[in-house]
């Protein structure tokens, strides 16, 4: 099956590279939504059918932790898994992401293989199924 994802990052090039990397990994994403901060992400998450939230931590207006808290507080959307992709790599910070409710964490820089492995784990896909269902080429 194809999964819908929202990429939340204040850097437009980083949103593009995350999308490009996921496509290159062969993971089957249906629609990519984008938001530059947590506030805009919340309004999209409430309106659209989403299977996963992929968010940065360090963003203006509403950072990644505040976004996780806002999602987990809202019963309408709190079952959507959240993957944090961040430069923040201290054990304390990663523990905080997980404690607040993130389903996984990836450190920047990242590879297509790592993103695919995390998405497979979080969304309960096998590597083979996800790869076979992909209609995007490995043109990374």
């Amino acid at each position: 099956m194809a999964y819908n994802a929202i990429i939340v990052d204040d850097s437009q090039p980083m949103r593009s590279i995350i999308i490009k990397t996921i496509k290159a990994s062969g993971f089957n994403i249906g629609i990519f939504f984008e938001a530059p901060n947590g506030k805009e992400a919340i309004s999209i998450i409430k309106k659209e059918w989403l299977d996963i939230v992929i968010t940065d931590y360090n963003m203006p207006d509403m950072n990644g932790i505040e976004l996780i808290e806002a999602i987990k507080k809202d019963s309408q959307i709190n079952s959507i898994p959240i993957l944090v992709i961040s430069t923040e790599g201290s054990k304390k910070k990663i523990d905080e992401f997980i404690k607040k409710g993130a389903a996984g964490y990836i450190k920047k820089p990242f590879t297509p293989e790592l993103i695919k492995k995390k998405l497979n784990h979080i969304l309960g896909e096998t590597d083979e199924a996800s790869f076979e269902n992909s209609d995007d080429g490995l043109d990374f």
Binding site: I17, T87, K107, P109
Partner: protein, 157 residues
């Protein structure tokens, strides 16, 4: 501590630029960012990332405009002729963000450092940052086949 931080920085620069920007690099040590020869051309774009933690300071990344265009092309995958100034400054901010954050993870992942939002600064402001506080610095020239950039880490002991 300075040598360990420098090693962590060089590892981080390699990981970030080779993984995300597909660029091969060679390093040479500079005593100070003032020794970075491209600064004299005036065609250098500069990003800065402040941090606090066990020690505090900032990172600076200086990239010649032509090299930054190529890095941006590699990063976001659009034709070099379609790259805007915004694409370039966003890419430079992301590069310093990843390099700085990854440096601290490599240095010691048990220590928490807080990173600020990266900014673009004017070339002349590099020295204003350095004179504002009496900090030590690490400056590394990062050479590619298309030109040399410089990464500086300023820190309080």
């Amino acid at each position: 501590m300075k040598q360990a931080l420098k090693t962590a920085m060089m590892d981080s620069i390699s990981e970030v630029f080779e993984t995300m920007f597909f660029i091969s690099l060679e390093f040479s040590d500079l005593d100070s960012i003032d020794k970075y020869s491209e600064l004299s051309t005036g065609n250098v774009i500069v990003s800065m990332l402040e941090y606090t933690g066990k020690f505090s300071g900032h990172f600076v990344l200086c990239v010649p405009e032509i090299l930054l265009k190529l890095i941006t092309e590699n990063f976001i995958g659009i034709d070099i002729n379609d790259i805007t100034e915004q694409n370039m400054t966003d890419t430079l901010k992301e590069a310093i963000n990843m390099t700085g954050g990854n440096t601290f993870t490599n240095y010691d992942s048990n220590i928490e450092f807080n990173l600020n939002i990266p900014k673009i600064i004017k070339q002349e402001d590099i020295h204003k940052l350095n004179t504002k506080a009496k900090f030590d610095e690490i400056a590394i020239s990062v050479e590619t086949i298309d030109g040399a950039m410089c990464v500086q880490c300023v820190f309080s002991q």
